[in-house]
Amino acid sequence: MEQKNKFNNRLGIWGWLSGGRYGLERYAYSLHRLCGLGILAYFLLHIFVTGSRIDGQGSWDSAMSSVEGIIFKIGEFLVFFAFAYHGLNGIRLILTEFGVFLGKPKRADFPYKQSTLRQRPVLLVVMVLAAILTIVGGWDFFIAN
């Protein structure tokens, strides 16, 4: 209990808005969680909307027509982006969890090299790959369809 109070999360979810001295990775963390919550909300609705298929074609067509329109299309595209980012950043986080890209522990000599900076190129690769997937998805959602 003492430890809980010592590290009291007094900012709550408002702490997600500011990276502070944690920099880019803190914003990546906030976006990761925001995307995760968005995907979860969509997924729970998705289960029930697509569940209508077992009630026959009429029920399926009715369910599909209720989620037509540009608002839903944009929403689906945002879910696509959220999955691309959350998935790729999730790989980075799992690798980081097991110490990959962080380097071996060693004595801190000046000029200091933080482990955060060692794995930052991976974050940049994640961003670039998510951007490429989002562009491909955007083409499929809004131009080809």
Partner: protein
Amino acid sequence: MLKESTYWYLFLLAGLFILVLLSIHMTIMHLDQLLVAIGIGSGDVLKFQSVLARGRQSFFMVSYIILLGAALYHGLYGLRTILFELNLKKGLQTAITAVLLIGGLGIFVYGTYVAIAAKMM
């Protein structure tokens, strides 16, 4: 009851399952025109007959159920982690865990029923 660290590693493992299965699902359902462009898609993925045909295949039924379980666990455990970071009282934490567990199991049973029923259509 497992150790909290075991639940955490299961959360990571579920994430990897989702990554593979949802990538396949997203490519089939949302990059359908890209698949048509490279010559391996029909482009009619949302038509009832296409939905029916996929649902009848054992691969899709099994992958839907695994994806459902993995995504529910990963998503609801993630939500629980976020909520617990708000330093909630112990009683509220227990209540949240119970609601997410019962809700998640209920949705899993419903989704599994749908996947099996669709296989038999």
